[in-house]
């Protein structure tokens, strides 16, 4: 069925269709609408989810951890500082191997305080052991949320899943999209039947031990193996999802990459802008292409290297500043992935769009212009730059 929904409403509608056991709810811009919509579903008896209105995101994630450990399917939504406040518990959720689903509506981190989109919040959580799947638009936000549970809950994975979309750009913009029938969703998601859980009558369970050095490393290796196993499961679930939706998903999306000589690698809603710019450049016979990363954790390093192997120059566009003084987080991953290629493309990093700074098709065209020069001259310096900020003279 075709509908016109905002990204937040699309995720809330997915939650309604799933009817999870427990939701931890706390407001923060721009994800607030998700718990608001679900509150209305609860108030109208459309779901019978236990809706826990906590006093902080820290407690929201704590509730989800405990509920999931107790045998209940648990969800939450947050943004920015809310995700930062959960930070400690994100690790706990992953290490306890609890497949919680969290909608992260990406927003810049304080400070200074800013409510608009960038990826600094979820990028800060990239090493917590959560699977991270990013959406370009409302349709993908909805689809990714539906795929999260079959990915996270599978025994070989058993990891929490964060589905991310850009604050306001995706969360608040209303788009035409396709929704699945609720019956099809429920059949696709299935029942949550964990092997062990706190409320299981036959077998009491203890969760969250003090883990001494004689065991901790083994547990962490198991967690790392689960993250590796997630890659195959993500593709398996995508294939199953395609059968019911007709929509195809991979670890990333390649746009005009078959013969691309110049390519961008980026995440999220900017992909739409990049595709429009590429269409224009293609009409001008520029062999431009795009790799839109969908799955950032586990990172599809080998696959990405293959996708970029035939290009001559690549710009990674980071929508967060990692303050490594060596480029953003997506750049670090991409450069590392390309290292094993015998012949590597030239590679630069452009940090853009911080705190909601707009990126236009002209900006993308400029990036391709620079890549075209690099492809000819081989001159990549400076490798790591920022785009879209005003100069001192412009501000004065």
């Amino acid at each position: 069925m075709s509908n016109c929904l905002s990204g937040n409403e699309a995720v809330a509608y997915a939650i309604k269709q799933i009817n999870p056991d427990v939701m931890g709810a706390f407001p923060i811009t721009p994800s607030t609408e998700i718990p608001e919509y679900v509150a209305n579903y609860v108030a109208n008896g459309e779901v019978n989810t236990e809706y826990v209105t906590v006093e902080s995101e820290h407690s929201s994630m704590s509730v989800c951890i405990a509920a999931q450990a107790a045998g209940a399917r648990s969800v939450s939504a947050t943004s920015s500082c809310g995700l930062a406040l959960m930070y400690e518990l994100l690790y706990v959720a992953a290490s306890c191997r609890l497949p919680i689903t969290l909608a992260c509506v990406n927003r810049a981190l304080s400070g200074p305080i800013n409510i608009n989109a960038d990826h600094s919040d979820s990028m800060g959580a990239r090493d917590t052991g959560w699977i991270q799947i990013y959406a370009e638009n409302n349709q993908e936000a909805y689809d990714n949320f539906l795929m999260a549970m079959p990915i996270g809950e599978t025994p070989s994975v058993r990891l929490p899943v964060m589905t991310c979309m850009d604050g306001f750009i995706t969360s608040h913009a209303v788009e035409n999209m396709e929704l699945l029938e609720t019956d099809a969703v429920r059949k696709f998601i299935g029942e949550y039947n964990p092997e062990n859980y706190l409320l299981k009558r036959e077998n009491p369970l203890a969760v969250g031990p003090y883990d001494v050095s004689a065991y901790y490393m083994e547990h962490k290796v198991l967690e790392a193996e689960a993250m590796k196993a997630a890659k195959a499961r993500i593709l398996e679930v995508a294939a199953e999802f395609e059968k019911i939706s007709g929509r195809s998903y991979g670890l990333f999306e390649e746009y005009m990459m078959e013969d691309a000589e110049l390519a961008l690698v980026l995440i999220g809603s900017s992909a739409g802008t990049a595709k429009a710019a590429i269409d224009k450049l293609r009409a001008e016979n520029v062999k431009a292409g795009l790799v839109k990363i969908r799955v950032f954790r586990p990172f599809p390093g080998e696959e990405l290297a293959r996708a970029l192997a035939g290009t001559r120059a690549v710009a990674v566009m980071d929508k967060s500043e990692g303050f490594s003084a060596n480029g953003g987080p997506l750049f670090a991953e991409t450069r590392s992935a390309l290292y094993d290629l015998k012949v590597r493309p030239y590679l630069i990093d452009i940090v853009y769009g911080l705190g909601g700074r707009d990126v236009k098709t002209e900006d993308i065209e400029k990036v391709f212009g620079r890549l075209a020069d690099i492809a000819v001259t081989g001159e990549t310096q400076p490798v790591y730059t920022h785009m879209g900020q005003r100069s001192k003279e412009e501000i004065a």
Partner: protein, 312 residues
């Protein structure tokens, strides 16, 4: 529960906290946890929630758990929210026919995890009204990290962050009155107790807390031989002195109504409680008499205020 408390009958129940855990000899925490869990009806299951603490690292060191019931530890500051989550799951699964039997939810946290870092989480859970019991085992400092002051540490106590020196004279501030703050949450049952005598007070209050619907809070005195610096055999003696000096009065607040649970036959001077403990040793040095006077005045003031509440 039989109306007459009988310790012998109670201890014949299968232990829910088994021996072999790693708590120190003379520690109040293990005695308290056993005592609280004994108040569960035999047929009822429980999920025990624990904040990071001495208790946690001593009773659930992988791969051994000392608990016969299900147990969850997540972090230091979130045990009340964690208990909320388990209770929420129970409500959801019960509604959906996936869990049928009665399960009770009991949280244990130290004073650091309750008065300080876990305070927000506790307040939130109490306000939301989850059907749970929160037990603070109050040993008046961060003992697990090596005796640092908390907002529960009493005035003048020596800790590793309130040391005695040429200028420093122990903790400067009085202990936070957490029980009054919990009473202000208008929850059905709040009580202060201690593992004393035949454990009747602890047992009775635990039973009420567990079987009163809604959020209930117990503040339990938990002497710590390492932090308080007393010989470990003196656990019950120190506890008794805390009662009889009125440093740690036993009382309960049921639906907003205060009851005094214990009145000492003879109210002992506060120095009787202070003297056996190394953490107060400096108070007995020449020239520091004013400290004992101040401590006595504070105990008297709190006791009078309690008597006003209870109408005793």
């Amino acid at each position: 529960m039989s109306t007459v408390y009988n310790l012998k009958r109670e201890v014949e129940k299968p232990a829910r906290l088994t021996g072999g855990h790693r708590l120190c000899a003379g520690c109040g925490a293990g005695v308290i946890v056993s005592g609280v869990l004994r108040a569960l009806n035999k047929e009822d299951r429980a999920v025990v929630v624990n904040a990071t603490s001495c208790l946690e690292v001593s009773t659930f060191m992988y791969p051994y758990t000392a608990y016969m019931d299900s147990y969850i530890h997540s972090a230091f500051e979130n045990s009340a929210a964690t208990c909320s989550g388990v209770e929420a799951a129970y409500n959801a699964l019960k509604r959906r026919g996936k869990v049928e039997e009665t399960v009770k939810f009991i949280t244990f946290a130290g004073d650091g995890g309750t008065y300080d870092i876990g305070f927000q989480s506790l307040s939130g859970a109490m306000e939301r009204g989850h059907d749970m019991v929160y037990v603070c085992y109050d040993n008046e400092a961060y003992m697990n990290t090596g005796i640092q002051r908390s907002s529960s540490t009493p005035r003048f106590a020596r800790t590793t962050t309130t040391p005695i020196g040429s200028v420093g004279q122990g903790k400067k501030q009085n202990k936070k009155d957490l029980v009054e703050i919990l009473v202000a949450h208008n929850i059905p049952y709040v009580a202060q107790t201690a593992p004393i005598g035949n454990f009747k007070d602890l047992h009775t209050k635990s039973y009420k807390a567990i079987y009163t619907e809604g959020p209930c809070f117990l503040n339990v005195l938990s002497p710590c031989p390492r932090g308080w610096d007393y010989p470990m055999a003196k656990l019950s003696e120190i506890t008794k002195l805390a009662m009889d000096t009125c440093v740690w009065p036993l009382y309960e607040v049921e639906e907003g109504v205060w009851h005094l649970s214990y009145t000492p036959k003879k109210k002992l001077p506060v120095e009787d409680f202070l003297r056996p403990q190394g953490r107060f040793k400096h108070m007995f040095q020449k020239g520091n008499e004013w400290m004992i006077e101040d401590a006595q005045a504070y105990v008297n003031q709190k006791w009078e205020r309690l008597l006003e509440h209870t109408g005793a």
